[in-house]
């Protein structure tokens, strides 16, 4: 659960471990210790707990510390000294195992009524013992639970009386246990408890769904479709996953150094400046990445720009233009769909359209029909067809073209930074703020508007002439 502090699953393995830790023979060494003037049994030290965890779970000291701190944060173990800090100290600090009655359990939530009774009881025992944060709680609880306040005070008095009848040692132990429980469930400020509550889960996933006809029919339909869906052999799919990792290995900043340097490491943002969205000369690594897949090329604005240079030379820009227009419709506002559909039809699909795209008759027919009642996915078939065409043919010709070879040659290969410690300090003091993305967006919008205006009414004769030329 994203919100709640506890989960059922973790409980059972943790509970088992905590019980093992208390085993008289194989558990953590315990002894009797004096707390103020009372003798408390079954006390253990932080370092003994950690040693036991490290040995038992076969982990190193730091991991044992993590596990140990979890046991304290969840309230399975509680500290006798410095009781508000829910961590496991790797020294002779004293701890005790919490009684199972106070273990974090999903079924019994630590509710406000119980907390009110606890605070009231402490108030009765000795006025003024409540901490500031507890007084805050107490004030609020008095407001929220005003209707049952008599009951709360009565319960508190009763518990106080019953407590007095216990012998001193038992009472001290119980007070420690109870106090520990509430530190976990109503943590003081700056105490990190694992039982910090939040929002409850709405739907109980364990509730049996009503198994009606519909329930089984749904499963049947879904399973049949799953059976019919094409799947590939693991060698093929896992091979593809491996191939991706291998291809991108040198581009992964966690696996290979980025040039000139990783900005987070050296506080120098050159790497980002060199790789801005529409930088004039891209880096060699970036240009290499465009060759990995058509998707990579299109996704990188600089790559797409270079691809458009190639398309212009081939006079085949209409395919990409159509794809871009279809994308804009798919991801655009609902209100702009019909207008965009009209423009796209007039520009790319109508007979004699200025940027007519060459798709098969069937696709064209269905698309045009669909455009009579346009919705955002109406161009899917045509768009996929055009995309595949570019991917399987144009893209590969681009990679072999003088345009691509030219940009490969021009591309930058920045030398790695070699900052001295004092230079690094300087960098840390002078971190550059960088351009606000809003400004970049505004600039790009202006360019888009300019380009659209420049495209203007297309000279069909000129376009047809150039098409004939190409043939």
């Amino acid at each position: 659960s994203k919100i709640r502090g506890d989960t059922v699953h973790e409980q059972s393995s943790v509970e088992a471990m905590v019980l093992e830790m208390q085993d008289s023979k194989s558990g953590v060494k315990s002894s009797e210790q004096k707390l103020n003037i009372t003798s408390i049994p079954h006390v253990v030290t932080g370092q003994d707990i950690l040693a036991w965890i490290a040995n038992h779970m076969k982990v190193d000291a730091q991991e044992a510390q993590t596990i140990g701190t979890m046991l304290v944060a969840y309230g399975f173990i509680y500290p006798l000294q410095d009781h508000k800090k829910l961590i496991l100290k790797p020294d002779v600090s004293l701890y005790r195992f919490q009684t199972p009655y106070f273990w974090p359990v999903q079924k019994w939530k630590a509710d406000n009524t119980d907390y009110a009774i606890y605070l009231a009881k402490r108030n009765i025992r000795k006025k003024g013992t409540l901490d500031v944060y507890e007084q805050e709680y107490y004030k609020n609880l008095h407001k929220w639970l005003n209707h049952k306040w008599d009951f709360i005070v009565m319960q508190a008095k009763e518990q106080y009386r019953a407590g007095k009848e216990r012998n001193k040692a038992d009472r001290v132990v119980f007070d420690c246990q109870e106090r520990a429980y509430w530190i976990v469930h109503r943590p003081p400020p700056r105490t990190h408890s694992a039982m910090d509550y939040g929002v409850d889960r709405l739907i109980d996933p364990n509730a049996e769904e009503n198994k009606t006809f519909d329930y089984y029919r749904r499963i049947i339909i879904f399973t049949q479709q799953a059976i019919m869906r094409s799947k590939v052999k693991s060698t093929v799919s896992l091979g593809a996953i491996l191939k991706h990792m291998t291809t991108y290995k040198d581009h992964d900043p966690f696996l290979a150094p980025c040039l000139p340097s990783n900005p987070w490491q050296t506080d120098d943002s050159s790497y980002w400046d060199l790789n801005m969205r529409n930088v004039e000369i891209p880096t060699k690594m970036r240009v290499e990445r465009w060759s990995f897949s058509f998707f990579e090329l299109l996704n990188d604005p600089r790559g797409r720009t270079d691809f458009k240079v190639f398309l212009k030379k081939e006079f085949s820009g209409e395919n990409l233009a159509f794809w871009e227009a279809a994308e804009e419709m798919k991801w655009g506002t609902a209100s702009s769909i019909s207008e965009k559909a009209q423009t796209i039809f007039k520009t790319f699909l109508a007979p004699g359209a200025p940027r007519w795209i060459n798709i098969d008759g069937r696709t064209m027919g269905l698309t045009v029909k669909g455009l009579e009642h346009p919705h955002r996915y109406v161009l899917d078939a045509a768009q996929t067809h055009i995309f595949m065409l570019m991917k399987k043919d144009t893209f590969y010709r681009y990679l072999k073209s003088p345009v691509y070879k030219d940009i490969q040659k021009k591309a930058l290969s920045p030398a790695p930074h070699n900052f001295t410690p004092s230079q690094l300090e300087q960098n840390a003091q002078n971190r550059k703020p960088g351009i606000n993305p809003i400004i970049i967006w505004q600039q790009e919008e202006e360019e888009r508007a300019k380009a659209a205006a420049a495209a203007g009414p297309i000279d069909i004769k000129k376009l047809m002439a150039s098409k004939l030329d190409r043939k």
Partner: protein, 399 residues
Amino acid sequence: MYPSIHPSIHLSTLTSISSSPVIIYVHLAVQQLQTLCFLANFPLAKMAAQEVQPSETIAKLKSESEALKTKLEEERAKLHDVELHQVAEKVDPLGQFVMKTRRTLKGHGNKVLCMDWCKDKRRIVSSSQDGKVIVWDAFTTNKEHAVTMPCTWVMACAYAPSGCAVACGGLDNKCSVYPLSLDKNENLAAKKKSVAMHTNYLSACSFTNSDMQILTSSGDGTCALWDVESGQLLQSFHGHAADVLCLDLAPSETGNTFVSGGCDKKANVWDMRSGQCIQSFETHESDINSVRYYPSGDAFASGSDDATCRLYDLRADREVAIYSKESIIFGASSVDFSLSGRLLFGGYNDYTINVWDVLKGTRVSILFGHENRVSTLRVSPDGTAFCSGSWDHTLRVRE
């Protein structure tokens, strides 16, 4: 107990060329949860469309569904000709990693619940339990904007692809979009736009390929796609049997699917156009807190309260790896891949971050530093660092 969701009657026509037939989906009110499928040339469609036959018994349907499930497993098994660790054998092991905290962002007054990176690779948005949403330039650690939501527990936040807006929501059951401003003194709440409306808490949100659409998941058990400008519901996704906790959009060239994970232990893959669940995986033993696609879109990872992270191969339709250790007993709250997909970072409830070798299945590093559970974790868009947010009120950027 099923939540009452305002019925959405939805008719979308999808014409698809080549071999697939014409498909029309009619979505009815949630209470009924009926998806009537008219698939021309498909006999099962006729069965689904029929009235209840008196002779049909539930027992008969049950055994039929079970037989089909067995058949599906057989089909899957036929294609299962290699294990991931076998494929991994021929690959060099990774070296040692030294990952340091490079920035600690302090400013939230309460638990950090969610964060997201801006496409500029250095700005982030984060949200917390006390209703605060902060936009930071993580590189300089400057706070650029702060918004106070009218609700607590802001569990979801996202940066718009343009970098000009952020979306967030939580216990208010809504997802709201705040356009950002160059003027630091401007009150962002004035231009706030309410987009999504669920009938219970918002657990996650994400913009699609533009600022104009948002995908949400909710405690009401559904996911939904919304038009930002009008607030119109474009598509809803029903199929989870409990709260949906997380979602991630596929990075594919077609960009039409997303995966969601829920308290019903299921991870579902959805077709955004039709609203249909096209794949489902139920191997986790507890809530799925986080799902994230592998960079190529052919697989996805999940993190769960069962203390494991898992990898699912979408093309082979199966789980292919479990990332777990005996010493890891507390849930994973958030996962993300490094740029190449070789590393999987997992934030856990025991305050640590475990780094896994996706291929070999081993843990390559464990990172400490947070003083309370790690609630959110994302790798930056260019893979140069990752950021973790925690209930200890801070965010840390590490590389």
